[in-house]
């Protein structure tokens, strides 16, 4: 009896390993050294200019080898005119390796530039910069400036939105459902907005080898699942702790919105960093209006919190507002000082996944509260109104 169980366990392990071993053999056969089974076609080199900085009398380009084969960067040009340049640490780039190309050039503020790099086989790669602007030097003043912008865009509007809480508290169940659905609509819009932004950034700045669309999809799903799992735990625990279910939901909404606002901060910081000042002014005004509605999203579930009165309520609201709003400050710092398209895409996709998770939680709550009914006029009109309000305020951005 004992022996046969051991035997069957051994068989089980073997049956798990054998297919895997065959897979390893197959891959070794196809890709292993000396194999010429798949020696078809010509691998094409590819480099991606991920970042261009305009510094004093110099243009600095961060370049990454994003192709399947090693390359040598041998020539630099500005506007298709060859320039002597330096490359640090050296011109040989293995797969995914980066280098800094320094091109001495007396550039002019606000003028467009095309940066070209040529590799050893004569292929030229180009990156267009719409308007040159001095690279931001991290200074205390600038750190403070970005913090201020982040506060304007993130914290204050969310706080203002939260002021609707007393109003929402007093309304009827029907109207309350309307506001919950409105929140779901707002968030749905934000999620799509984040995805669009993530895809834009990956399209413009990430090499094809990163599989931009799939990267975004994967990160959204991972973020959704991660937060869904931990959110369930949070709600379960809320039942037995002093944290009530509405607060737990509001907290999740705040986290989701916070991740989203981080993305907004990135956009503003990057826009200031890229010198599009007028554009970033619009961004700031637009996001501020837009984010007021996020306050409503947090306020809506909170309004049904039992036993939340007075100072405790105000303290919780302030904390939630900070969770939702302050990431805009961090986003602005990151976007302005250490912008990297890859991390931006990741953050935007995490934000989108977080928002989808919040939407699921809200919808489920409406369903539980609203007698298992989604199709009431309040819910439908609320969701529609949420999308519409967001769309209209987004035109300002």
């Amino acid at each position: 009896m004992e022996v046969s169980r051991k035997q069957s366990k051994g068989k089980l392990i073997a049956s798990g390993i054998i297919p895997f071993a065959f897979l390893v053999l197959l891959i070794a056969y196809i890709f292993g050294p000396g194999s010429d089974v798949l020696d078809l076609g010509v691998p094409l080199p590819e480099i991606t200019m991920e970042k261009v900085d305009f510094v004093d009398s110099e243009i600095q380009v961060t370049v990454r080898n994003t192709g399947p084969i090693p390359v040598e960067v041998v020539m630099a040009d500005i506007n298709d005119r060859i320039q002597p340049a330096a490359i640090e640490p050296d011109r040989f780039l293995e797969r995914y390796e980066t280098a800094l190309v320094r091109i001495p050039f007396e550039w002019n503020v606000a003028e467009p530039y095309r940066i070209g790099l040529t590799i050893e086989d004569g292929t030229r790669f180009e990156k267009e910069i719409e308007a040159a602007a001095p690279a931001l030097e991290p200074s205390l003043e600038l750190v403070g400036f970005f913090a201020l912008i982040g506060t304007y865009v993130g914290i204050i509007p969310v706080m203002i939105g939260l002021l609707w809480l007393p109003f929402i508290k007093r309304i009827s169940k029907q109207k309350y459902h309307f506001f919950l659905a409105l929140t779901a609509g707002l968030l749905f819009f934000l999620a799509i907005d984040s995805i669009e932004e993530a895809l834009d950034v990956s399209e413009e700045n990430l090499a094809g080898s990163f599989n931009g669309v799939l990267l975004v999809a994967t990160v959204i799903v991972l973020s959704f699942l991660g937060l869904y799992y931990s959110g369930e735990k949070l709600i379960k625990r809320a039942a037995s702790s002093r944290l009530s279910k509405p607060v737990a939901i509001a907290l999740m909404i705040s986290i989701g919105i916070g991740l989203h606002n981080f993305g907004e901060g990135l956009a503003i910081g990057a826009a200031v960093g890229l010198g599009s000042i007028a554009f970033s002014t619009f961004l700031i005004v637009g996001f501020a209006l837009h984010n007021t509605t996020e306050g409503i999203a947090i306020a809506a579930p909170m309004s049904r919190g039992k036993g939340l009165v007075g100072k405790a309520m105000i303290g919780k609201l302030a904390a939630l507002g900070l969770i939702a709003g302050s990431p805009a400050i961090f986003g602005a710092w990151v976007g302005g000082f250490v912008y990297s398209p890859f991390t931006s895409v990741i953050f935007l996709a995490i934000g989108a996944g977080a928002i989808f998770q919040v939407i699921v939680v809200i919808l489920r709550w409406i369903r539980e509260e609203g007698d298992k009914n989604f199709s009431s006029g309040a819910v439908a009109s609320g969701f529609a109104a949420g999308m519409l309000v967001m769309y209209l305020t987004s035109i300002l951005v």
Binding site: S57, V74, I82, I87, R102, F105, E120
Partner: protein, 354 residues
Amino acid sequence: MIASISVILAMSALYITFPESISAQQEDNVIHTHTGGIITTTGEIIDPVYTATTDPEYTEATIEFDPMEYLREFDYGEVSTLPDGTTLREFTIIAEDDQIMEVSPGIFFNVWTFNGQVPGPTIRATEGDIVRINFINNGSKPHTMHFHGIHPAEMDGVFEIVGQGGKFTYEFEAGPVGVHPYHCHVMPLEEHIVRGLYGVYIVDPKEGRPAADEMVMVLNGFDTDFDTENNSYAANSIPFYYQNNPIQINTDELIRIYVLNMVEFDPINNLHLHGNLYYYYPTGTSLVPSFYTDMITLSQTERGIMEFQYEFPGKYLFHAHKVEFSEKGWVGIFQVNDNSQQDEKSAEKVEYGS
């Protein structure tokens, strides 16, 4: 003894204390920018000076091309006299299309070649000579040689396509006097030309031209990424070559340049000379110059002879005044040396044409 030991000790102590700063100083490279600025880098400079070499340790190139050698190199052929007293000049030209040339520092490009170089060899004869070209196509594609000039239709290198491994003998009387292009004339023509199948064919007048320091400049470019735009331009293939390696000439010595424009894709090219003007003989067909100028514009295969001499020693630029081309390599320098001090040297160095 004690002093030297203490110096060594002091140095090594210094090195142990500040190893980074010392090695960093050793590694720093300096870039001289086009605007005269200087920046230092711990990395590599990617505007290196072109070095003609086929040493596999340093290069992927399979052919060697030295623009300075090409500049003053004329191929007069294997000379013999026909029974009627006419001079026969025989040339062997081999076409290939699998060679790799360093067309700009660090850029290795598959060029199509006559006798393993771009431009092909400068073929030179005197008016009335019989020119016989034993053409061999060692390429993988069909090629021909089409000479500009006067010759029978079947010697025109257009309809008599020479296939892979094929041979053809072009024979015609040299004429008219002047400077002419030769190039492959197989379709797609633009590709066969721009890949490098072209060269200069000079016909000297019977009476000769005045003695001069003679040079050939083929204005050309390479489209290394196949987007029907040139990635680099030059006189004699290598961008910035004569800027980094100025052409040495002497004061009060007649300079004669045979100029041929072979640039494709761009409708015009030109040549501007600094600190001087030149006499210009369009196509070189007349012994009397048509212009005295410092700027001539040339269309595809347009060519001519430029003659000038410098009075003052020093550095003089010459370049395309279609400045885009000069910023992409078509720029050079004449280093004019004072003739009075080095008469003997220059007499040895300069080989006069014909």
